[in-house]
């Protein structure tokens, strides 16, 4: 599309980046087809192309109001549109820029501002997640209900094998995951231990920074990113092979560290290095598949599984079919999941801020996942897992796929 | 030929200024069909000949007065065909009349109707203007699709001059299978088979006997035959030709013959009249006296339309009456093409 950016933004780094993204879009509309909000609402304004246009207007200097803000708020940042776009339009980047500018230009009402502020500050602090719940009472009615429903039975972590291998990797602990399912990382450590890799969790690292980032607060995100880099750096210098992330939502953020701090005089290089070392757990396991396969196949093939591929995995990280392949290889039978490209509605804080749309998406997703009568639903992102569980009423258990491989190994 | 066109346009202009109707005709093979004929004859038979035929293009352009036989012979020589299997009704049939009546033969449900293969037309409208629409190419969306509008308009909108068609390779092998089954079963089977990738090219049911024609490459026809069962019929070509041209005894008496066009899955109509079913169930010929009003209502209620095809009393209208909003558009269109109502007036009798 032809663009004509306003003077106030034209020559800034964000302006230049946004312009180059906008210029790539040919307004073909393909992305509408796979956008979850367009599917539900049938309105161009709630589609990627419509949102791109709204942002373009703002960048071209037109007046912007809470109307544009509403349509950007409704976006899940699932990046399904990116997977569909044949012109390679990086919508995710554009909407990050767009949201930050809208936040500055339009602002928020007091109530909305408080809610978002609390989410931004409270959730990222490891250990404070449950405190945030207590705090949530002042933000009724939305927060307590939505979050309360998200607290599933807490799983106790199993043993974490002591570091014993020459090969080692770092793992991101994150903020929400330890509170909900601390066994995911432990299971990862056990699986990797079997193939000769020790997994190290550094306690001083925490939230990846995506929560404030997607609420339009890049500055707050940068603080968290830098803290993680500092925590990991000595290990990296000592030869840690990779930064493994077990929640694909956090993974997309870590993969973007280099981009996020590209203009930071001190951290740019380190951030780029971290992004280069980033691996989703599926990539790490797939790389060791040759050694792992015989170990897995030693036990009896388990049950039917429906795999929910998180948006952050398939659209954000563009990792498609890898987990499915690992599960199949381990003997699981995968059931068909229609519309697998659509978001489950969890999307970071979306389930709290857009409860209605989120609930519809969750309902649709659960219907799709259970259509093949699976015994277990597997996924790769703790937020999606909690979100799905809150809608399933215990009818079908939801697990991280790595835990299933871990159990399979333990049984063999 | 340009002189001939000149004189034809002159005649139309004159008729318009004198307000004298013209009755356009070719070989008169289908003059029994449609509303009453009125006006001075405008014979198109002298405007004849193939203008352009390049088999590699799959496109044929002909003059309206060209005998159908001549065209089919030329196509046959190149291993091609008019895919809608046009009915002749008499050897004198011309291509112009074929397009104007819009009638198609047994292959229709499986490859398409005459309107599906008309690509372009050159016509003279009621004002004596020489106009061209569509073209000699397979895809064309410039302007409204006037050529298809001409198809089946019974010459009421314009005198057809040149017509371009898409043609297709003729299947190399053909076989007809015979089954004994009742009407309801035949309708059901025809529809089931049509939903499967089978090389069916025609279907018929009459008096407890279903016939199915398969066309294509030898191997494909053979494989389909094995799937369907039934018994192979010798000399089936004559059977389909007689059905197409209504030369079978069923069609040859003077009883009113009605053409009932209905959704193919319509269950047996139980009209208590002798019947012949074609087109996978979508075309049902019935013969004999009937209460027109009741019949039309019944056919409309299943989503179809009834036409008095041959013989019988035309005073109550040959074609199925149109809904008032539709009739209004027909009147408007007729006025747009033929403001003086001189082209085949009354031949399309369901809206004026």
């Amino acid at each position: 599309m032809q663009t004509n950016l306003a003077d106030w933004i034209k020559d800034t780094p964000e302006g230049r980046e946004a312009d180059s993204i906008l210029r790539k879009c040919v307004h073909c509309g393909f992305c509408l087809a796979t956008c979850p909000t367009y599917n539900l609402l049938g309105d161009e304004l709630d589609s990627p192309r419509g949102r791109i246009y709204l942002m373009k207007q703002m960048l071209e200097g037109e007046a912007v109001t809470e109307k544009t803000q509403l349509h950007l708020d409704r976006c899940l940042t699932c990046r399904s549109c990116e997977s569909t776009c044949p012109s390679g339009v990086q919508y995710g980047r554009l909407v990050d820029i767009g949201r930050e500018l809208v936040e500055k230009k339009v602002g928020r009402s007091v109530a909305e501002g408080t809610q978002r502020g609390v989410l931004k500050r409270a959730l990222p602090r490891t250990g404070l997640f449950s405190a945030a719940l207590a705090l949530g009472r002042i933000m009724k009615p939305v927060l307590p209900k939505a979050l309360a429903a998200k607290i599933p039975v807490k799983r106790t972590p199993g043993a974490w094998p002591a570091p014993r291998h020459a090969r080692n990797m770092l793992v991101l602990q994150g903020c929400v995951q330890p509170a909900i399912d601390p066994d995911i990382n432990a299971a990862t450590a056990r699986v990797l231990d079997r193939v000769g890799v020790s997994l190290i969790a550094v306690p001083s690292a925490g939230c990846c920074g995506s929560l404030p980032q997607h609420l339009g607060d890049a500055e707050a995100a940068h603080v968290l990113i830098k803290r993680n880099i500092d925590a990991w750096w000595t290990y990296i210098e000592a030869g840690a092979e990779a930064v493994v992330v077990t929640a694909s939502g956090c993974g997309t953020m870590v993969a973007e560290y280099g981009h996020a701090l590209r203009n930071d005089p001190v951290y740019a290089a380190k951030a780029a290095k971290i992004s280069a070392l980033f691996r989703d757990v599926s990539q790490v396991v797939a790389a060791e598949q040759e050694r792992l396969s015989p170990l897995l196949r030693a036990s009896t093939p388990p049950s039917r599984v429906a795999f929910h591929s998180p948006c952050t995995l398939q659209h954000g990280l563009k990792i498609r079919g890898v987990v499915e392949g690992l599960l199949r290889d381990a003997g699981f039978e995968l059931t068909a999941v229609p519309d697998g490209h659509l978001c489950c509605g969890s999307a970071g804080t979306y389930s709290i801020l857009q409860p209605e749309l989120s609930k519809q998406l969750r309902g649709n997703k659960i219907a799709a996942l259970t259509s093949g009568s699976p015994a277990v639903i597997a996924s790769a992102n703790v937020a999606c897992m909690a979100h799905l569980e809150s809608g399933l009423d215990g009818k079908v258990p939801v697990r991280h796929w790595i835990e299933m491989l871990d159990e399979q190994l333990a049984a063999s | 030929m340009e002189n001939l066109i000149q004189s034809l346009t002159e005649r139309v202009k004159q008729a318009a200024s004198n307000n004298t109707p013209l009755a356009i005709h070719g070989g008169n093979s289908k003059s029994f069909y449609g509303g009453a004929i009125r006006g001075d004859a405008l014979d198109l038979r002298a405007y004849t000949g193939i203008i352009d035929y390049e088999p590699k293009e799959l496109v044929l352009t002909v003059r309206a007065g060209t005998p159908l036989q001549e065209i089919e012979t030329a196509l046959e020589a190149a291993g091609q065909m008019l895919p809608f299997e046009p009915p002749y009704y008499a050897d004198t049939a011309t291509i112009g009349g074929t397009v104007a009546t819009g009638l198609s033969g047994p292959r229709r449900p499986y490859t398409g109707a005459v309107r599906d293969f008309v690509l372009g037309t050159r016509i003279i409208n009621g004002k004596g203007e020489d106009l061209s629409f569509g073209g000699r190419v397979i895809k064309n969306v410039a302007g409204y699709d006037v050529s298809r509008l001409m198809t089946g308009a019974m010459g009421t909108l314009g005198v057809l001059l040149d017509i371009s068609f898409k043609v297709l390779p003729k299947p190399t092998d053909e076989i007809t299978l015979r089954f004994e089954m009742d009407e309801a079963t035949a309708i059901q089977r025809f529809n089931e088979w049509a939903g499967k990738p089978l090389p069916i090219s025609a279907t018929s049911w009459h008096q407890g006997v279903a016939m199915v024609r398969l066309s294509g490459a030898a191997a494909g026809v053979k494989a389909a035959r094995e799937k369907l069962g039934g018994e192979a019929v010798a000399d089936a070509q004559a059977f389909w030709r007689d059905l197409r041209d209504h030369r079978a005894p069923f069609f040859e008496d003077a009883e009113p013959l009605r053409r009932l066009s209905v959704p193919s899955t319509t269950s047996p109509l139980s009209l208590d009249l002798p019947q012949w079913i074609e087109w996978g169930g979508a075309l049902r010929w019935v013969k004999g006296a009937a209460d027109v009003k009741v019949l039309r209502e019944k056919i409309a209620s299943v989503g179809g339309h009834a036409t008095l095809f041959r013989h019988g009393d035309k005073s109550v209208g040959v074609f199925h009456p149109l809904a008032p909003v539709l009739a209004k558009i027909h009147v408007n269109l007729k006025a747009a093409f033929d403001p003086d109502n001189i082209l085949n007036p009354g031949r399309m009798d369901n809206f004026s």
């Binding site: 109001t65 | 410039a142 899955t265 149109l322």
Partner: protein
């Protein structure tokens, strides 16, 4: 905004989604023909036919123009709004009604996505045959309005061959049914006139489409050629050999490279031209055709012939083909696609003339098109930020279309006239023919409020432009008066 009109709308139903603010209207100012734009007075997203009829009735009573929009993927600007008019966006009328597998039909709302129809029919082993490259998102209503074709229309036909019945609402608000669920309907073939009428005759509010059995067997071939001429020759020879492929598509080098870069389709990069050929039908029939086609390809100097070994491989090839236009956008920021159709035998000659023209204009032109149909889609690249480039690309495009008319073809095979090809309409048609089109419009839309100014140029504008009618090499007729 017209206050009386707003009051009318609020009486229809309070829930009617009417957009009147500039901020939210602008995203509707254009479709996929982005070089042209206009912000409408208001946009409405109706939910059903009754609302559509009521909106139209008040618009015609007040003489307010109405433009219909489906998915907004049109590339001739058909859905670009009128500044003083209402834009009706039908994307919410996306209900898939009955899929009748016995009768092989599906009844769908106009806003249903083309591909969603095939998805809904898949369980019965049926599909909706017309498959425009935009099938993922373009709407059935838009398809009917444009008479869209697709890569498989050589064998399966265009929209007009695959639609049985439509519900149409006229500008005055009257609704009616055209066509029928039978194989024909009484009266004139109004379905044919409405199909491809670009929203100028009425609004399509429901469509009954014909479903086709999924072929038993499919073979997809990729053939690489050392020259465009060789590939073009092969196209004619394949059809001459009595084979009608389900699809027969051609791409030149520039397209091959763009597709490869963005979709890693595995196209051979050393070829000057590619043919993508699909054969389908009964297994034995396809086997027979395959032999004949491979023979022709070899005779025409194909340097490489590949057969898709799996459905996944086939899908990858088609995905690359269907995404070709968007992938091309990476060559230069802006492009302009032409849609002329020519008799197939003129392919080598016309393509050569295009190359020559492109050189004269010093512009990049890529070719990816429906070769089997003779439907050309040269893509002219330009940079809109360079002054004059867009105008030059449009001029070059105009010349290319005139060549199509000159060799007996047409200015648009499937994309429609819209606002884009009005000038070329004057080249293809004479005054009396254009007047006929205007009369047809008036027969349906006497108020003249539907998509005004599109599709058919006024005689006055043609006269202003010089009205150069060049059909089949003939120069404008001296005997027709100009005014």
């Amino acid at each position: 905004m017209n206050a009386g009109l707003l009051a009318d709308f609020s009486r229809i139903t309070p829930a009617l989604n009417v957009i009147t603010d500039h901020e939210r209207l602008r995203p509707f100012e254009t479709d996929a023909f982005i070089s042209h734009r206009a912000v409408p007075m208001c946009a409405i997203l109706p939910e059903d036919e009754t609302q559509v009829a009521a909106i139209l009735a008040s618009c015609s009573a007040r003489g307010v123009p109405v433009v219909t929009r489906g998915a907004g993927t049109g590339i001739s600007g058909g859905a670009i709004p009128s500044e003083d008019g209402v834009l009706l966006v039908l994307t919410r009328m996306n209900h898939i009604g009955k899929v009748d597998h016995q009768a092989r039909t599906a009844t769908v709302g106009p806003g249903v996505r083309n591909l969603a129809v095939s998805d809904a029919a898949a369980a019965h082993n049926l599909f909706y045959a017309p498959d425009p490259s935009s099938q993922l998102i373009c709407s059935i209503g838009g398809n009917v309005a444009e008479n869209s074709g697709g890569v498989h229309c050589l064998k399966y036909g265009l929209t007009t061959h695959n639609v049985l019945q439509v519900r149409l609402v006229l500008s005055g608000g009257e609704s009616m049914t055209l066509g029928s669920r039978a194989l024909d309907a009484a009266g004139y073939d109004l379905m044919a006139v409405v199909t491809g009428s670009e929203g100028m005759l009425g609004l399509v509010t429901e469509v009954v489409v014909k479903l086709t059995p999924v072929p038993e067997h499919v073979e997809t071939l990729l053939a690489a050629f050392p020259s465009v001429t060789d590939a073009a020759n092969a196209v004619g020879r394949i059809i001459g050999a009595g084979v009608v492929p389900a699809a027969l598509e051609m791409m030149d080098k520039m397209v091959i490279e763009a597709c490869e870069k963005f979709m890693s389709a595995g196209f051979p990069l050393d070829a000057e031209a590619l043919l993508l050929i699909e054969l389908d039908g009964v297994r034995e029939e396809v086997a027979d055709q395959l032999v004949r086609v491979e023979q022709v390809l070899n005779d025409c100097h194909a340097q490489e012939i590949r057969r898709a070994k799996s459905d996944a491989e086939r899908e990858k090839l088609w995905k690359a083909r269907k995404g070709a236009f968007a992938a091309l956008a990476t060559i230069r920021p802006d492009y302009y696609t032409i849609d002329g159709t020519i008799p197939r035998r003129c392919l080598p000659d016309v393509l050569a003339r295009y190359t020559q023209l492109a050189e004269e204009y010093r512009m990049l032109v890529a070719n990816v098109f429906h070769a089997g149909d003779g439907n050309l889609h040269p893509c002219i690249f330009y940079d809109a930020t360079v002054p004059g480039e867009m105008e030059r690309s449009e001029e070059l495009g105009g010349k290319m279309l005139e060549i199509c008319v000159e060799v007996g073809g047409t200015i648009t095979g499937e994309h429609g006239v819209g606002v884009e090809k009005l000038r070329q309409m004057c080249v293809q048609f004479r005054e009396a023919e254009l007047a006929t089109f205007h009369a047809i419009k008036a027969a349906f839309d006497p108020a003249g409020i539907l998509n005004p100014g599109k599709g058919v140029p006024s005689l006055k504008r043609c006269a202003e432009w010089g009205g150069m009618h060049v059909r089949e090499g003939k120069m404008p007729r001296a005997d027709i008066p100009r005014f």
